[in-house]
Amino acid sequence: MPIKRQTIRDHTAEANLFARRAVIALVIVAVLMGVVLSNLYNLQVNQFEDYQTRSNGNRIKLLPVAPNRGLILDRNGVILAENIPVFSLNVIPEDVEDIDAMIAGVRQYISISDEQVEDFKSNLKSQRRFKPVALRTRLSQDEVARFSVHQHRFSGVTINARLARHYPFGSALTHVVGYVAKINRNDLNKLEASGQAANYDATHDIGKLGIERFYEERLHGTVGYQQVEVNNQGRILRTLDFQPPIPGEDLVLNIDIELQLEIQRLMAENRGAVVVTDPRNGAVLAMYSNPSYDPNLFVHGISSRNYNALLNSTERPLINRVTQGQYPPASTIKPHLALVGLEQSVITPETIMQDRGRYQIENVSHTWRDWKRGGHGDVDVIKAVEVSCDTFFYDLAFNLGIDAISSAMMEFGFGDYTGIDIHEESDANMPTRGWKRAQMNEPWYIGDTIPVGIGQGFWTATPIQINSSINMLINRGEKVLPQILKGVQTTSGVVDEGVKTARPIDVNNAKNWDMILDSMYGTVNREHGTARLAYANTPYIAAGKTGTAQLFTVAQDEEYVEEEVALHLRDNAMYVGYAPYNEPEISVALVLENAGGGSSNAAPLSRDIMDFYFRHHRFDKDGNLDNSTAIGSR
C-alpha cells in the first residue's frame, strides 16, 4: 500500500519529540530505580535486625551435649554405679564407596548378623548421607581392639563411644540403687510437664528405679551446648561456641557394700528382706531383697523374654520386699504394744497374768491360742515380751481397744511411708474402724482387735516400717528417718545431707522406755528369751524381738504342722534387733518368707549379720569406718 502522507521530514521536530520521550523514559527509569532502592533500603536498613536474626538462625544451630551422670558410691567410696564407654560401629555413608564390600571386610573382624545388616541398610535410606549410621552396637573390647588395628582400611567406618551406666555389683543392689534405662514416651511427658525436657535433649537414659530414680535430678546434671555453624544440608562446618555441660552430683550412699554383699550371701537360700540401719542417724547400711535380678539387663533394653520371666516369676523378684513387702509384723511389735499399755496404765510393771495357752472373751465362742501349748504360766510385761507370750497381748489388745492401738502405732509410723529416699515404698496397713468400714463395709468387731495384739489380723507392715519403729524405741521416742543417701562427694570430701527427723513420740513416764528396752534385752539375754540361743556368746550385747507370722489360719480344733502346710502358706520368720544394747550402732529387721519360726530361723541370720558388722565394719556416730573398735574377730 503506497503511503501518500510521505511529506518532507522535519528532522528537528522529530529529534525534539524523541528527546522529550527519552527524558520521560529516563524519568520513569529513575522512578523505578527509586522503587527498587527504597525496597532495598527497607530490607537492609529498616528490617536489618530481623533478617540478621533469621540469617543467624539459618546457619547457627545449638547442639545439646549430655552431662555425665553422677556416680553412686558406697559410704567407703566404692563405686556402685559408674559410667562406662559402650562402643558402636558407625558408618558415614558418603565416605564409603562400596557398602557391600565394606560390610564383607568388616565382618572379618567383627561379627555382624544378616539381620543387623538389613537393619543398617534400611536405616541408610532414611538418613542424610553424611550422618553416621550404626552398623553394630555394644562391641566387645576384643572387637574394638581387632577392628582398630585394621580401621585404616575402612574409610567412613568409625568406632564411637558413648557413656552408659554400669552396675558392678549387679543384683546385690538392684533394689537400692535401681537402674537407668532409655527415656520413653512416658518419661518425656513427665519431663515436659516439669519443664525439664530441654535439659534432657542429649540424654539417653533416665533413672527408673531406686536411688537412680529418686535422685534423678541431682544425678543428671545440666545439659551443655555446642554452638555450631551448619550449611543448608545441616552439615556441621565449625564450632562457634561451647558451653560445657555440668555433670551430675556424685552421690555417696549410707550403704556399706561389704555388709550388703555379706547379707546377699546369707540370704541366698531365702526369699525375704533384710534392712540394717544405724539408729543414731537413720543411715541405711544395707537393704536387700531376695530374690533380686541384674539391673544391667535394663540399661541396654531388656529383651521381652527376660522381662516376662522376671515379671511372671512366682518369686516376684521385681518387688523390693524391704519397702514394698507387706507382712504381718507379728510379735516384733509386742514391745511397742507393751509400751502403749504401760503408758495408758492398762497394765503396770506389776501386772501379772496367768497364761494357760488359751484366750477367750465373754460372749465370744472363739478361742485364741498361744503359740506355746499349755501357756507360759504367770507372766508380767517383761516376761511377756521375752517369751513372746501371745495371751498377755491378746488381753492387752482387748483392754486397749483398736482405736488406742491404731493411733499409738501410727505414732510409730505404721500405716504410713517412712520417708526413705526411694519411691518404691508401700504404706502397708494399720487397720482402724474407718478403714474396715471403707474396705469391707463392715463394722469393727472385738474379735478383730485380739489378733492385732500379736501383730496379725488386718495389720500389715513393711520391714523398713518395722525397723524404723524399733529405732524409735531405741531412741526413746526420737525419730530419725531412714536415709539411703549419705551425702555428696565433692573435691573437698563428702558433704553430708544431715539427719532427717520428725516430731518425737511423747510419753508420760520416761521409765517406760527403760522397761521396754529391758524386755528386748531379756529376749536375747535372759533364760527364757526367744533369741537367747541364736545370740548365745556374742562378744557384744544385743537386744531384739523375734516374730513368727502366721499366713495360714489353723482351724479351731487343729494343730499347725509345718510339713502339712503348703510352702507358700508356711510361717514367715522375723526378727528385729539392735546392738550394742547400751549404745546401739545398728538395728536389723528381717523377714524370711515361709521359713518357719523367727526364733530358730530369723534370729540366727540376724546374729550372723551383726557378727559381721562388729568384726569388720563398725562405724562411729558420724558414719566413719572405725575398725579399731572391731570386736569378736575369730
Binding site: R9, A15, F18, A22, V36, L37, N39, L40, F48, S55
Partner: protein, 371 residues
C-alpha cells in the same frame, strides 16, 4: 581534526575501532563486579571464573564486530533478521529440543541455538525500521502494525514457555513505539487492554508453575520450604547484608548454600549480602551510568531508526536490571531474567553485548557524520 596529527588523542584508536570508550568503561566495570561476585557465589571456583572470562571475551568480540557495521546496514537487514527469527521460533515449537521443562533450543547439528535471543535484537530493529519509514509521531495504524510485530514473537516465546524472554522482547518493541512518539491516548488504551489481558493470561495461557510463582510472589511465607524458599532465603541474604555488608566471601547465606541459584539469577542477593546497601548503590550507579550513556547515544543519533533502536536497546537493558533486582528482592514474581553482565551464564551475555555493539555502531557513526 587533522588525521595527520603527531599527537593523536588516546581515544583515536577506540574511535577507529568504532568503540564508545565511555560505554566500554561502564561495561567492563560491571563485568569486573560480576566476576568478583561469581567467585564468591560459586564457592571460589576458579574454573567457573575461567569459563565466564572466556564467555565475556567472546561476547566482547561479538560486540566489537557488530560495532563495525554501519547503522544503515542494520536498517536494511532488519526485516530479514525478523523473518528468519520468526521462522526459527516456529521451528523451535515444532522441532525444538526440550531442556529444563521448556522448549527453547534449536539443534542445528553442530550447536544448540536459542532463536529467542536473536529476537531480542530483531524485534526492536524491525519496529524501529518500520516506524521510521514514516514521519514521527507515527499514526495509529502504524502503531497497531508495530504492536502486531511485537506480539507475534512474544506469544511464540511465551509458549515455549519463557516468560522472562518474552517480557524482554515485548518491552524492547514497545519502547521503540513509545520513543517514536506514540500518543498518550494510545498508551492509556494499551494500558487498559493490558490489564484486561492479565486475567486471560492467568486462566488460559499461564502454566501451573508460572501461576505458582505469582502466588508465591504474593505471599512467599505461605510455603517457606517449597516454592517460597528461594524468595525468603534471598530476602534474608539481602536484608542481613545491612548497610555495609558482611564482606566479600563472608556472606553466610551464599557461602553456606542457603541461597539457591547463587551465581546465576540470584547473584544480586549474594552481592547485597556481602557488599550491603552501599555496594548496591554503587552497582545501581554503574547501571544508571550505562543507561544514561545509552540514552545520550540515542538522542545524538542522526536518523530516526538509529535513535529508536538505540533507545529501545538501552531501555531493555534497564528492564533486565529492574526485573532481576525486583524479583530477587521480592518486588516482582520470579521470572528467569539474569542480572545483566553480572550473572554467570552465556547466551544472554552475548545478546546483551551484541546490543551494545549496535549501540556503539550508532554512537560512532553519529560522530563521524556530525564531523
Amino acid at each position: 581534526m587533522n588525521s595527520a596529527t603527531f599527537n593523536p588523542k588516546p581515544t583515536s584508536f577506540l574511535r577507529r575501532m568504532h568503540i564508545d570508550g565511555v560505554l566500554l568503561i561502564g561495561l567492563l566495570t560491571l563485568m569486573a563486579v560480576g566476576l568478583v561476585t561469581i567467585y564468591s557465589a560459586g564457592g571460589q571456583d576458579a574454573d567457573l571464573i575461567q569459563r565466564q572470562v572466556i564467555r565475556l571475551g567472546l561476547a566482547l568480540v561479538v560486540m566489537v564486530v557488530l560495532a563495525q557495521i554501519p547503522p544503515m546496514m542494520y536498517r536494511g537487514m532488519a526485516i530479514y533478521f525478523y523473518i528468519i527469527g520468526l521462522l526459527m521460533l516456529v521451528g523451535v515449537l515444532l522441532f525444538g529440543v526440550m531442556g529444563k521443562g521448556a522448549q527453547r533450543w534449536l539443534d542445528l547439528g553442530f550447536m544448540r541455538f536459542q532463536p529467542s535471543e536473536i529476537m531480542k535484537l530483531a524485534v526492536p530493529m524491525m519496529v524501529a525500521w518500520y516506524i521510521s519509514k514514516f514521519t514521527l509521531p507515527p499514526r495509529t495504524q502504524h502503531i497497531i502494525i508495530g504492536f502486531v510485530m511485537v506480539a507475534i514473537p512474544t506469544v511464540l516465546i511465551a509458549k515455549q514457555p519463557d516468560l522472562g524472554t518474552s517480557l524482554l522482547i515485548a518491552s524492547s518493541g514497545i519502547f521503540a513505539l513509545f520513543l517514536a512518539g506514540m500518543t498518550w491516548r494510545l498508551i492509556s488504551i494499551v494500558g487498559v487492554l493490558a490489564s484486561a489481558f492479565a486475567p486471560i493470561m492467568w486462566f488460559f495461557l499461564m502454566k501451573d508453575y508460572q501461576k505458582q510463582r505469582v502466588l508465591t510472589f504474593l505471599n512467599p511465607e505461605s510455603d517457606p520450604l517449597g516454592s517460597g524458599y528461594h524468595i525468603i532465603q534471598s530476602k534474608i541474604a539481602i536484608g542481613s547484608g545491612g548497610v555495609d555488608g558482611k564482606g566479600w566471601l563472608q556472606g553466610t547465606q551464599s557461602q553456606l548454600e542457603f541461597l539457591p541459584e547463587r551465581h546465576t539469577d540470584f547473584i544480586f542477593a549474594v552481592f547485597s549480602e556481602e557488599f550491603g546497601l552501599l555496594g548496591v548503590l554503587g552497582l545501581l550507579g554503574i547501571y544508571g551510568f550505562i543507561i544514561m550513556r545509552g540514552m545520550w547515544i540515542a538522542a545524538r543519533a542522526q536518523d530516526a531508526f538509529s535513535k529508536l533502536l538505540a533507545g529501545a536497546i538501552t531501555l531493555t537493558f534497564f528492564v533486565y536490571v529492574f526485573v532481576n533486582i525486583g524479583m530477587v528482592s521480592g518486588l516482582l514474581p520470579v521470572v528467569g531474567v539474569p542480572l545483566p553482565l553480572v550473572s554467570y551464564g552465556g547466551t544472554s551475555m552475548v545478546t546483551l553485548l551484541a546490543g551494545f555493539g549496535i549501540l556503539m555502531a550508532i554512537s560512532t557513526q553519529a560522530r563521524l557524520m556530525s564531523r
